[in-house]
Symmetry: C2
DNA sequence: GTCTATACAAAGATAGAC
DNA sequence: GTCTATCTTTGTATAGAC
């Protein structure tokens, strides 16, 4: 399904998500969004009554798409814990290869207190869900002998999430291509080998 | 030296830095700053001709204060590599204990492309400098037997910086007290023990 | 569902009095 | 060095025609 085949509401969500990942929430406006979608300002308001509603809808969709994919791979018996871990890394690798983009929720977390409450809730739920999922995968890999790290799976889950989120914001600021791939290899080695 | 003893320019810098660490750059205005300093909007303009000038001055000061402290401990022969590492962690620990604050440059990196060019340069220089300093300390600790990690010091420096920056943005969004302390212990254990 | 027109507030910035 | 007053632009949001 290409972009033109989508309905207006979806195209607004796509453009808004892209703009937030590049510039943040408080730096963009209905005008920026409307121009990229190819409509006028009030048409956005017709689909989303306010900027906070639009922002919330963007994060909610992002969170749910992630959530469904993570749940699917966690429930797939064919997949190893390392398969799941590598799958988790793919979006970070994608954004890592883009000079301008970072994780949607990483961008929003940087201006967290300047976000509408409804958006704060979504962003918090995103991170909470990822931490729980990572903990589960790491615990499984530790128990079945795939992983060999010391310390609790919960602590390792924090390390993984924090590192990947941090890697994206640092790579964009420093303009270092390969920064995310590099740190991901380091991270992976801490999971595989015993200390 | 208390706040009232400082001159106006310094008080403006203090308030602006604090506001950026809480809310980001694009979400704050001369009015917010003026109100907290206890002056009026045009008085700020007298000291800093534009918002970009003020923003640049804030990051420059932050970067230079950090830089001087890091250089001092790196040149102190009495300090071990682990002393230096722990010293590096202290500001992150301080912000970690605050529900609202993150690193100034971490906040700005989240809205990097929506910053004035002069500010982007300062933020990039901050991260570049920290990566070089960390690599130097880690290399030294590895050579003198204090540290026992595998992989290049440069890769480990990335891991440290990314993790600490990510930990701050994640802890604020999730409201998890202890998140930063916890991940820092994990990080420390990866330096100390051989894999 | 999309548009033009408009209301209203807040932003950065300037001029000039004190 | 600080202020009042003002300018200009841009922001979110609304009303109502098509």
């Amino acid at each position: 399904m290409n972009n033109q085949a989508k309905n207006t509401a979806e195209r607004i969500l796509d453009v808004t998500q892209d703009l937030i990942q590049r510039r943040g929430y408080n730096a963009i406006s209905f005008n920026h969004i409307a121009e990229k979608v190819g409509i006028k300002k009030p048409s956005i308001v017709h689909h989303f009554p306010g900027k906070a509603d639009l922002g919330k809808a963007v994060v909610k969709r992002y969170r749910e798409v992630f959530s469904a994919a993570l749940q699917a791979i966690a429930e797939d018996d064919q997949k190893t814990a390392m398969d799941a871990f590598d799958f988790y890394c793919t979006p970070y690798l994608d954004y890592g290869g883009d000079k301008e983009k970072i994780c949607l929720c990483g961008a929003l977390a940087g201006e967290f207190l300047a976000l509408p409450k409804v958006m704060q809730k979504e962003v918090a739920a995103f991170f909470d869900g990822h931490l729980r999922w990572l903990e589960d995968i790491l615990k499984r890999g530790l128990e079945n002998g795939e992983f060999h790290f010391t310390g609790k799976p919960a602590a390792m889950a924090q390390l993984v999430l924090d590192t990947l989120q941090g890697a994206l914001i640092v790579k964009r600021a420093t303009g270092t291509s390969g920064h995310v791939v590099e740190v991901m290899k380091t991270l992976r080695s801490k999971l595989e080998k015993p200390e």
